[in-house]
């Protein structure tokens, strides 16, 4: 794989070779950044994704109220329509729901929950999948067979079904009244257990190619222990495809969390994610209060679309065959 790339990197006029200053310059001159600059759609998607992350991080500074704090909610302010409509009222940009909760503030806090669950879920799935994939690929034999058979079976079932089952079992084991933080942890585990297969398969494939290369033989020859060879030498050479999977998986994890919350098996009303907000808002659709469901829906759709576009671009950019 690297053979195809090398001539590209050592072109005599390549600025990295000329100046030799720092990683930032090298990053700005890289093929990946070049393909990033060429695609306007990707730049917009990246900007929107970063904006969503910033909104989530600074949610408490940007919101006009803390939607989780009942003391800050006033029933007087319930069901106000968005600011630009005739009945709009001033701090409530996107209107309020039936509890007097500001929709904009609720979206900011919900975005935070959705992103936290999504990112943690991807990290959990990635860690589990990479570990099992490394072991399966490097050790081989019966362990490989067992891990991959489990992966095969799991892959025939949709992730949402597995996530729902994990959720239901967790509720049954820990009792039906989990507090919000434990629910969040259960969601992370459910998402992690639903999405590890793809990482494991990809890592296993790369490891089986890499482990026959000379540098692994050299590492074995100088007596490095197997875990160290796997983590320090083989793993870094499999990171490209993993990054692509992780990006696309982030969108899937956010969708899964939102779906579980929408189905009433996710975040509770006291600590709503975007999916919970949509479920709550859905009840007011027939009363004509469309803004309670519309804006969380738009936020969720925009977030997923921009992450998906980034993932598509990353897949093409990291694939040397397409250059």
């Amino acid at each position: 794989m690297s053979d195809a790339v090398v001539p590209h990197r050592v072109e005599p006029n390549a600025p990295a070779a000329r100046s030799g200053t720092g990683w930032l310059k090298r990053a700005l001159d890289s093929d990946i950044f070049y393909s990033f600059r060429r695609s306007r759609m990707t730049m917009v998607a990246a900007a929107v994704t970063i904006l969503f992350f910033l909104l989530a991080i600074f949610a408490s500074q940007l919101a006009v109220q803390n939607p989780f704090d009942p003391a800050q909610l006033q029933l007087m302010n319930s069901r106000i329509s968005p600011l630009w409509t005739a009945e709009g009222q001033s701090p409530f940009l996107l209107g309020t729901d039936e509890q007097g909760r500001d929709v904009f503030s609720a979206i900011l806090y919900g975005l935070r929950i959705s992103l936290v669950v999504g990112v943690l879920g991807v990290i959990f799935a990635g860690t589990l999948g990479i570990t099992l994939g490394l072991i399966a690929g490097y050790v081989g034999g019966a362990i490989d067979g067992l891990i991959m058979r489990i992966a095969d079976v799991q892959l025939t079932f949709p992730a949402i079904l597995i996530a729902l089952l994990v959720n239901g079992v967790a509720k049954s084991v820990f009792g039906n009244r989990l507090d919000a933080m434990s629910t969040l942890a259960v969601l992370v585990v459910a998402i992690g257990l639903s999405f590890w297969v793809q990482y494991a398969r990809t890592v296993r494939g790369s490891v089986m190619v890499e482990k026959n290369k000379d540098y692994v033989a050299a590492a074995q020859l100088i007596g490095l222990p197997a875990p160290k060879i796997m983590l320090r030498h083989v793993l870094p050479n499999t990171m490209g495809p993993i990054l692509v999977i992780a990006t696309i998986n982030l969108a899937l994890a956010i969708i899964t969390e939102a779906t579980l919350s929408f189905l009433g098996a996710g975040m509770p009303d006291t600590m709503p994610s975007l999916g919970t907000l949509i479920r709550i808002g859905n009840n007011y659709l027939f009363a004509g209060e469309w803004w309670i469901v519309a804006f969380p829906g738009i936020a969720l759709a925009g977030l997923i679309l921009s992450i998906n576009l980034l993932g598509d671009w990353l897949r093409d950019a990291l694939n040397p065959k397409l250059r």
Binding site: F157, I160, L161, I278, L300
Partner: protein
Amino acid sequence: MLAFTLRRAIQAIGVMIAVGVIAFSMFRFAGDPVNQIVSLDTPAAEREAVRKSLGLDDPVPVQFARYFGNAAQFKFGVSYQFRQPVSNLLMERMPATLELAACATVFAMVFGILMGVYSALRRDTILTKFFQAVSLIGISLPTFLIGILLIYLFSVTLGWLPSFGRGDVVRIGWWTTGLLTLSGLKALIMPSITLGLFQMTLIMRLVRAEMLEVLRTDYIRFARARGLTTRAIHFGHALKNTLVPVITVAGLQFGSVIAFAIITETVFQWPGMGLLFVQAVQNVDIPIMAAYLLMVSLIFVTINLVVDILYTIVDPRLRSTIRRPA
């Protein structure tokens, strides 16, 4: 051929046993079944009696064998919420789900193939760009958002279609169908579109890619040289050859359609198995969850098995090269 079929059948049985172990462990270990039956102030001696009567003091392998034997006869125990046998509940709800899944699949195939063929033949028209935008939305938007959007448009704003339920159904034996009444048909439209949209985009992309590939082959060039009409070439020769993978994908996807019906059924309050399952998850009704898992797995495994075997019948080239996947 026979060896291949047998090997696949044994694999399928292996998967079902694995799923059975999971379902049994959920049933047995996640939440004590006795606690669900007796009340809080039942004395310990009575609890033991109930435990004995349910056979919960037998060795675990014996219990597993009994659970599996019962499951094979579609006896899944009694639902905690409804106090009814789970199998009755599932049978009552199954026609609704299967009908919805079938309609969604038909919708996905008809529109997916039409849009795929069009966008392969007319590559740079506005309509093709529009189809591609629709397919991006179909992949990116969560199912429940599409459902809510449809409800807002066609039920709340325009008032054309009902937003929940199946409408009037006709009972034929144990099967209930909404296909024979006007309100039943109207109620089917939006859930079918919501459920089928993802499969439609999948089929559209597949048909487009396959068509583009086939149109480049020599036999199409030869057909052109023979002076056949464009219509005969495109639909008689090219489309026919793209249909094998399309039917395979649609078949394999039927299982996921049934599983994804969970979401659609919740949005539209469709009285099917998926809605039953979601309510079971919310209320920790383990017997229903375990039974649903077994039923869906059975459908999945059967479809996979049938598609695998059909594939070798349809495409003789595969017969000699099939080996156990590494």
